[in-house]
Amino acid sequence: MKTIQFNKLYKQFNITSVILILVSLFLLLFKGLNYGVDFKGGTLIEIRTNQSNSKISLIRDSFNQMNLGDVSVKSFGNKTDYIVKFEKQNSNDPEFIENIKQKLSNSIGDVDFRRVENVGPKVSAELLRSGIIAIGLSLAAMLLYIWIRFEWQFSLGAILALFHDVILTLGIFSLFSLEINLSIVAAVLTIVGYSMNDTVVIFDRVRENLKKYADIKIFDLTNISINETLSRTIITSITTLLALLSIYLFGGEILKGFSLAMILGVIFGTYSSIYIANPILVLLKVSQRTIIKEEKD
């Protein structure tokens, strides 16, 4: 296979990445994330209506009359299905949901509540905290693992690549106001694992080549390593994306957000393994001595 000069574009892509990260951070700070009931608290109801021609505005109107705080109504997959979310959650009134169902039936005819999620403010705060801790913990665990297996320069490169993937994925979710719920946290953690996996494969090859070629500069050495592992990188990305795409398209509405986050993460992860992790090694002037020293220790 022809050798592709990935390293010629290190600078351009690094600048692009930095810009994208800054834009994402800007979005996260000023636009914020669209938290679902898991993290914000409140009530979510998945409704199936009898007629496929029931108007979304009609549903919205009847919910607005119930004094439930901020109500959002969205259609959900099928023409007959809707997701309704509102702030209020009432733990002390066992008839709360039943009453809503009654009122709704009165105004738009028979409805089926396919799913109800009701999360109190204390629980949602806890879920958010444990989600953030989980992501932080996984990043720390990866940092540690790579540190043990490689030198610190590699560890830093891998972790920066991970940050890049996580921040960009969340940035896109912020940009399009996509909902962040528990399954997105699971997706982000899996992205962390996948992106690491990709980076490790290239790093392993870099280390091997460092031992083999003493006189090749790290700038070219990373390029050789990327090329040698390139077909694997592409094939694995394709098979993973095939699997994720089939979840996204056929796995039902509930898994849409999860699979979308994963698809984005796999694309960013593949990119960052090449264009973030490797330039960091160049920047940190990794050479044969870096790993020889490691072996002496």
Binding site: E95, R115, Y145, V200, S246
Partner: protein
């Protein structure tokens, strides 16, 4: 790397077949009880309700403080120590005043390790109460509040009681295989598979069911020892005495029934021996008075006592429907909760949505699987077939292990299986790509394949361990459906490694040794 002993081949084969048998037992009926295991479906797939309840312990704390206050008073009286001004501050502290001259003695009585009134827990090196002293003029103000461990002890005991009551109430309703678990020291998790309308259970769990019988007083104003309470329908109010004639603790049974005279639904109850005696005595003295039957601070009814009730059984009338009488009887039979429960999280999935999710999940699994299989054959031809054989056995192993451990399969769990399909081929891809490189320099296929396997090994391990770490963290931090995802993802990695190194390698070795003299093998 390409050599396999016969023993190894056989054990790999047997292991794979046994595990696959478990996988198949989910779809086929086998005629044996021992291996009849099934994957459990999570609530999101089979439909059902998930409720997280939190105990509001503040009434229990106040109750315990009041008890402690009385015993402190008694204790100091017995010891002949003058103590005054007992009160409860902020619903969390007991405070009282003693003379400065006796304060040292009081403190030593409270803080000694042998203290009768403030027990010391050797294991946790703490008393039940923390004691503080502030000197004011010639007297000492002493405050007691629960120590951290004292509070934990209290919470644990009220949680244990509550969980027992919750279990009884849920069992009485008769849902199939409910799951009731402790969470922390003030929460109870209730999982109710197959229940798509939890309203009734929520109503039952939302009631403390504290039943008392108390006399209605003649006065029209609230005074010391009485309180004003509302009737259940909210129409009337009555002043009732605080003195409890009889409480729900003395009930041994309660049943709904039809009163033949009034043609109304009532609840019949039976009392234990102590209860019958108390009730008999009180009703004998109180003929002509109204006896209020009070549940959780509201009056159900307040009938006139016509004659003494001495048989140890009685009747609660009220504005009941048959359903509400049944529920009241159930609550009385199962006993009172030590403290109110709040539902702080509820997730309910209807059975048809669960079924839809299963269908969508399986359909996308099949599509994903077919796409990956076709892509591997396109890319690697015969070795693609070998990788696919590994992938198929991987799926069987994964399902089999999930069945063996009776793990819970959730919708995200199915996503984890599909993701495993996509990522599992990675290990074989790494190996095949490495072999391709080796073949360029090494004409002997057997040596080339051998070193391909050897050289890719650490990379494959590193790459899989990272994903395993992520799955591990998810398992410990995640809840419910997400936990299901981490389980399939994590086990998927282990079965992937097994299928690549034992199954795919076996086929590869077999094929290479047979065709070692052919050109362009890979």
């Amino acid at each position: 790397m390409l050599y396999f002993s016969k023993l190894r081949v056989i054990s790999v084969l047997i292991f794979t077949l046994v595990i696959s048998y478990f996988a198949l037992s989910n779809f086929l009926k086998f005629d044996d009880d021992y291996f009849a295991k099934n994957i459990k479906l999570g609530l999101d797939l089979q439909g059902g309700s998930y409720l997280l309840l939190e105990i509001d312990n503040s009434p229990v704390i106040i109750q315990k403080l009041q008890n402690k206050l009385s015993s402190l008073k008694k204790f100091f009286k017995e010891k002949n120590i003058r103590s005054t001004n007992f009160k409860i501050i902020d619903d969390r502290k007991i405070s009282f005043v003693v003379d400065e001259t006796t304060s040292d003695e009081v403190l030593s009585l409270l803080n000694s390790k042998e203290s009768e009134i403030n027990p010391y827990f050797q294991r946790f090196k703490t008393h039940e109460f923390d004691v503080e002293e502030t000197k004011v003029w010639s007297s000492s103000n002493i405050t007691l509040q629960f120590s951290d461990y004292g509070l934990v002890l209290l919470k644990n005991s009220s949680l244990d009681q509550a969980i027992e009551i919750v279990r009884r109430r849920v069992d009485e309703v008769g849902t199939n295989e409910p799951n009731i678990l402790k969470r922390g020291n003030d929460r109870i998790l209730v999982e109710l598979p197959g229940l798509d309308d939890p309203a009734r259970i929520k109503t039952l769990l939302g009631k403390t069911a504290n039943l008392t019988f108390r006399f209605v007083t003649q006065s029209t104003e609230e005074s010391f020892g009485t309180e004003k309470l509302k009737f259940e329908d909210g129409s009337e109010e009555a002043i009732v005495s605080k003195r409890i004639i009889l409480s729900g603790d003395n009930l041994v049974d309660a049943k709904p029934s039809m009163d033949t005279q009034s043609n109304q639904t009532v609840v019949n109850f039976t009392l234990d021996r102590v209860g019958s005696k108390k009730f008999g005595k009180a009703t004998s003295n109180g003929v002509g008075k109204r006896l209020a039957i009070i549940l959780d601070g509201t009056i159900i009814s307040a009938p006139n006592v016509v004659e003494p009730i001495i048989g140890g059984s009685g009747q609660i009338s009220g504005d009941f429907t048959f359903q509400s009488a049944t529920d009241l009887a159930l609550l009385l039979r199962s006993g009172a909760l030590p403290a109110p429960l709040n539902i702080i999280e509820e997730r309910t999935v209807g059975p048809d949505l669960g079924q839809d999710s299963i269908e969508a999940g399986i359909f996308s699994l099949i599509i994903g699987f077919v796409l990956v299989v076709l892509f591997m054959i396109y890319k690697y031809r015969i070795f693609g077939v070998i990788a696919n054989l590994a992938l198929i056995s991987n799926l069987f192993l994964l399902l089999g292990i999930l069945t063996l451990f009776e793990a819970t399969l959730t919708l995200p769990g199915i996503a984890g299986i599909i993701l495993t399909v996509g990522m599992a081929v990675d290990a074989n891809v790494l190996i095949f790509e490495r072999i391709k490189e080796e073949v360029k320099n090494e004409k002997n296929y057997i040596i080339a394949f051998d070193s391909g396997y050897t050289k890719s090994r650490t990379t494959i391990l590193d790459a899989n361990i990272t994903t395993l770490i992520a799955a591990f963290i998810l398992f410990f931090m995640g809840s419910g459906p997400i936990k299901g995802f981490s389980v399939t993802l994590g086990i998927g990695i282990l079965t992937t490694l097994f299928s690549v190194y034992f199954i795919a390698r076996l086929f590869t070795a077999f094929f290479v040794i047979k065709n070692k003299n052919k050109e362009n093998l890979i």
